[in-house]
Symmetry: C2
Subunit: 313 residues, 2 copies
């Protein structure tokens, strides 16, 4: 294994992502020491059992001596957490996060981050519907994209810090991309935030339908609904903060989707099968591109689902 990019990393917030970073470092390297802290006693106790690394009693204790700090908390508390650890951050240390919204995250962290610290906001496009320290695993970041949104700082030490952080994530299996925060938030609004909002929306509506029993919704969920429940099972706190902090991009995108949906509804109401065919057929192109890019295991899952009870065939 090549030399680790960091001597000592600190993880603040030991949820799915925080605990997965700790597992991944144990598995693939990247740092010689891992210390961590979570605001919840329950999470800290659990992490001490299942997450590799040293669980500390305070955030300050966890980040003391660290040359890279990962904030893995909900976006809404990033400024508060940064302020709490600011005085304990080492000279030249890297401060990064894993928040799903970058404009607000970058601004909040910058507001409390000392000048002698290299702030490099980041976002791994990886996750599952599970949350908590028990949900983490080492291979979460394998082949996933990791977006870094570096500040407009041109100094050489900063460029070197970005370089080291990129190498760290690549070591964990990620493909690293850099872009500015606004572009990130616009892209993620359509590829992640809105899909989650719609999933929460449909599951929640189904929950309230008088004309359909919940039992039926569950029983017949294989028709498509089930996939929405998987998305909608994601951490509510995290997603609340995502929507509150990426409000403009989400609402703008929602407007576009709503406009297009109105057209589909109209086609249904007026029995315009041609329009429906056109719209439905286009979807396969994007699907194929995702499969070709190796960004979905559906092919493999599909294969796994095939049981051949007739081996000689």
């Amino acid at each position: 294994m090549t030399d680790p990019e960091f001597k000592h990393i600190a993880i603040i917030g030991i949820g799915l992502l925080g605990s997965s970073i700790a597992h991944a470092v144990k598995a693939y390297g990247g740092a010689s020491k891992v210390s961590m802290w979570d605001v919840s006693d329950k999470v800290r106790k659990c992490a001490a059992q299942v997450v590799p690394g040293q669980v500390c009693e305070t955030a300050v204790e966890a980040v003391t001596g660290a040359d890279c700090v990962f904030l893995c908390t909900p976006v809404g508390v990033l400024q508060e957490v940064t302020a709490e650890i600011a005085d304990a951050l080492a000279d030249g240390a890297v401060l990064t996060d894993v928040g799903s919204v970058k404009a607000k995250a970058a601004a909040d962290m910058a507001a409390a981050c000392p000048a002698h610290v290299h702030l490099i906001p980041g976002h791994p496009i990886a996750g599952t519907e599970k949350s908590g320290p028990e949900a983490g695993f080492a291979s979460l970041f394998q082949d996933a994209w990791h977006i870094l949104t570096p500040l407009k700082a041109e100094s050489e030490p900063y460029a070197d810090a970005v370089q080291r952080l990129s190498a760290f994530w690549m070591r964990l299996g990620a493909r690293v991309e850099t872009m500015d925060v606004d572009r990130h938030d616009r892209v993620l609004a359509i590829t992640s935030h809105l899909p989650h909002l719609i999933a929460y929306n449909i599951v929640s509506t189904a929950y309230d339908m008088e004309s359909v029993e919940k039992g039926e919704v569950v029983k017949y969920s294989a028709g498509g609904f089930r996939d929405f429940t998987r998305i909608a099972a994601s951490d509510p706190t995290m997603w609340r903060d995502v929507f509150l902090t990426n409000k403009d991009a989400v609402l703008a995108t929602r407007g576009r989707v709503s406009e297009d949906l109105a057209a589909l509804q109209r086609a249904i109401r007026w029995g315009d099968g041609e329009t429906l065919m056109q719209e439905f057929s286009r979807a396969r192109g994007i699907r194929k591109a995702i499969i070709d890019a190796g960004l979905d295991t559906a092919e493999a899952d599909f294969g796994r689902r095939q049981i051949d009870p007739d081996p000689e065939e």
Copy 2:
């Protein structure tokens, strides 16, 4: 293996479902002979290579002598197909389908079905985003629900036919439920039809966003969008017919979902985090029920995704 429920089944339409029935019968029994036909030469040629059973040149040839006929065509052509085979249907034969909309399917088949044939509309809540004769596999119906919507016919031979058809599907691994057509269409509107409409809608909108490159949508699809593309990859013709034939239930359900989404949007616009938390938290209940009912393999898939590169741990 117990005696097959049918001597000779005929499959009209050799897509994912039609070919899967043929594979399942070869694997688990249920009929001694399987004949099939598809309107497409290309599909018939392909089926002759990959689907177990006899591929015929005409629908009439395929159903002649069959004591159970499965119509696996898009819902839109059920009446036409039923009329085409009507004179060739054997006395006391069972005629069923696999259409995702039952009121229209039942009415269309009934309009052309001879009196001496037992019409029993049906719908397997099973499928993948794949289509065509190569997509079928024997285990598709394992643990999936199969809904039968029997007519209000009280005759003993009819009751016996429903009994045999149920036994056939259970032999293929399905759990069988009966309900009336309107209830089916209302339940499926929320558990299947609307989720597909929304998925097609979001994927199609993403395709048109000027502010985001298609490449970015593909790259960062793991954030949630990817699951929508999987749903939206389903057969466009089949889904066009679903929306055109279950128009009322789909538009009514869409109204409810739209109303609830407006409330979520408003909460986002006004920064009402409490409302978002409440709505997002409820979704987990339904998710848990689906997992508990063994209706999703996400747990298993999740497990499979965990690679432990450190075995001694």
